[in-house]
Symmetry: C2
Subunit: 334 residues, 2 copies
């Protein structure tokens, strides 16, 4: 296995405003020789996540990628060679593979996945940390959706949003998804079984929401931020919970994030806005993955995938996340 | 008691930007004759509260005062004449007296106060709905301060802030108050016994706070909003609670409130921002007032008063609330 060739995506330059193709460079190199405690992994599915965009900045919450460095990416892969007693060739693993076809990595950063619970690719999607688990803890532990409550999910046709909306539905909520375009809205009501959908691109969002949720909103699962957050804040009910999962509308200019100017509605309505990152719930991943896998098997939970083939497509896949044309989980199969 | 003369403060014109003296007019009139279910009250202490400013707008959360109408104000007074079976002359009462020396009011809007628990004037201050009770529920029920936690209170020399800071101290918090000017800061540490004070007018607030709270902020009791909210958001710890009580920095231009642009810190640190209005806790007023009265008697809780004498001073007192020159509770003794 020495001299395994690797194709990888580098950060060519830091983005300055919207992401563009020339921020990336794809090149072929050789993997280094394994040292003790390392694994050689062949990537199987790479997860496209918003945080990849944020680490392209000079300073970012999740750390920063140096110019010339391999872009970060979580993914599942298979062990080709192991110098760790805990892994052997053939194991399916999940962890920070990076935007590349192969990786020599510290075994300590990877977890073996149980393919009898769900197929390998599900561990980046419906059971994945950045998708299924994020949605699960956002709805269950932060939003605390109760049966009969009205739940609104933004970016509801996206990876996290589509799972969050479905869990809220499973938990007995009346769920309204917000997405861009009639196709996505049909996807929400027909394929995901939501109670309503608002097309932010063509509807009068404020009016459409008021019509679908005449008594107001109990839980808002927000992945978008910006103006939409204010529109929903204006329609929250007493004791509402706003779950701050992300703010994809703001990631391209993190220096000038638009704060919610209607945040005083929280005081008027005794409501709360609570943020979270999935890693705060690390001790509960197993429990959540078991429940998610059962819903998946029963078909109660649908994980739509949008697949890009070939590592060279990685930049396109990341651009797609921000242009918002996709439905469900963006995956790169290297 | 017929033809009781009354001096009252009217809304002469709606404010357009900062409050000014010509928004008000003071005039003398006669009280109407009592009807069944009404009381004639002589005002004893009127409470100056930020909401008085907000109801001067055309449309406001707390309702609106018509131009030419008597300004609203909560206060304590004594019943001069009663046509309600539940009250008699001499009773001390609390309720919406209005900005006037005398008032003919529906008895149903007033509550008798127990002067054996605390003197009449305490029922607009340390035990009052807009002051003591607001502070109490903000710290106890929303902030949930735990012993050893670091608590920051903005407008800490003000009425609500000074009580909130002291309750947080009583509950075992390390309390840092933010106020304007060295006199107020001395008041916080020397008279209220807080652990630290930051002068927002002269200190580098960000740096001063980082020095006083090197491990970050667990609870922020916010009465100010604006830029300061972002400064504190940047320094919150994991699982922090931000209590949104008010936003006095924003009340002069409610159409263009500045939202907290660092609200995504909530997600990064699994923190929450929760708002409240005191009336959501109405069923617990009695319990809270008992506890507050015990602290008052023991001297653990100090209620500093800033008194304006004469109803003609009501506009000055309200202007003082927004210019921020006072310490403690602003009271008008008509």
């Amino acid at each position: 296995m020495a001299n395994q060739s690797n194709r990888r995506v580098l950060l060519a330059r830091r983005p300055d405003g919207p992401l563009s193709r020339d921020c990336f460079q794809v090149e072929t190199s050789q993997c280094s020789t394994l040292e003790d405690g390392q694994l050689l992994i062949e990537a199987n599915c790479l997860s496209i996540d918003a945080f990849i965009r944020t680490v392209m900045y000079e300073e970012a919450y999740h750390g920063s990628v140096p110019v010339g460095g391999t872009l970060v990416a979580l993914g599942v892969g298979r062990v080709l060679e192991s110098r760790s007693p805990e892994f052997e060739a053939g194991d399916g693993v999940f962890g920070p593979i990076g935007a590349q076809t192969h990786a020599v990595v510290p075994a300590s950063l990877f977890r073996k996945v149980d393919e009898s619970v769900a197929p390998l690719r599900a561990w980046v999607g419906a059971l994945g940390v950045t998708t299924g688990l994020t949605a699960y803890f956002g709805i269950r532990a932060v939003g605390c959706v109760q049966p009969g409550e009205t739940v609104v999910v933004s970016a509801a046709a996206g990876a996290v949003g589509s799972v969050a909306a479905q869990i809220a539905r499973i938990d007995g909520g009346r769920v309204i998804g917000i997405a861009g375009g009639p196709d996505k809205c049909r996807f929400l009501t027909e394929e995901l079984g939501l109670d309503g959908a608002v097309d932010y691109k063509s509807d009068d969002v404020e009016g459409a929401l008021r019509e679908l949720a005449p008594d107001g909103v109990d839980v808002y699962f927000d992945n978008v931020g910006g103006e939409l957050l204010d529109v929903v804040l204006d329609q929250i009910r007493e004791k509402a919970r706003i779950v701050i999962c992300g703010a994809i509308s703001q990631y391209e200019s993190m220096e000038s994030v638009r704060g919610p100017s209607l945040y005083l509605r929280l005081a008027e309505r005794h409501a709360r806005m609570e943020g979270f990152a999935v890693n705060f719930f690390e001790t509960r991943y197993g429990e959540a993955q078991r429940e998610l896998s059962i819903w998946l098997k029963r078909g109660e939970l649908v994980m739509h995938e949008h697949v890009f083939s070939g590592i060279d497509q990685f930049p396109e896949a990341l651009l797609a996340m921000f242009s918002g044309g996709h439905r469900g989980k963006l995956i790169v199969e290297p």
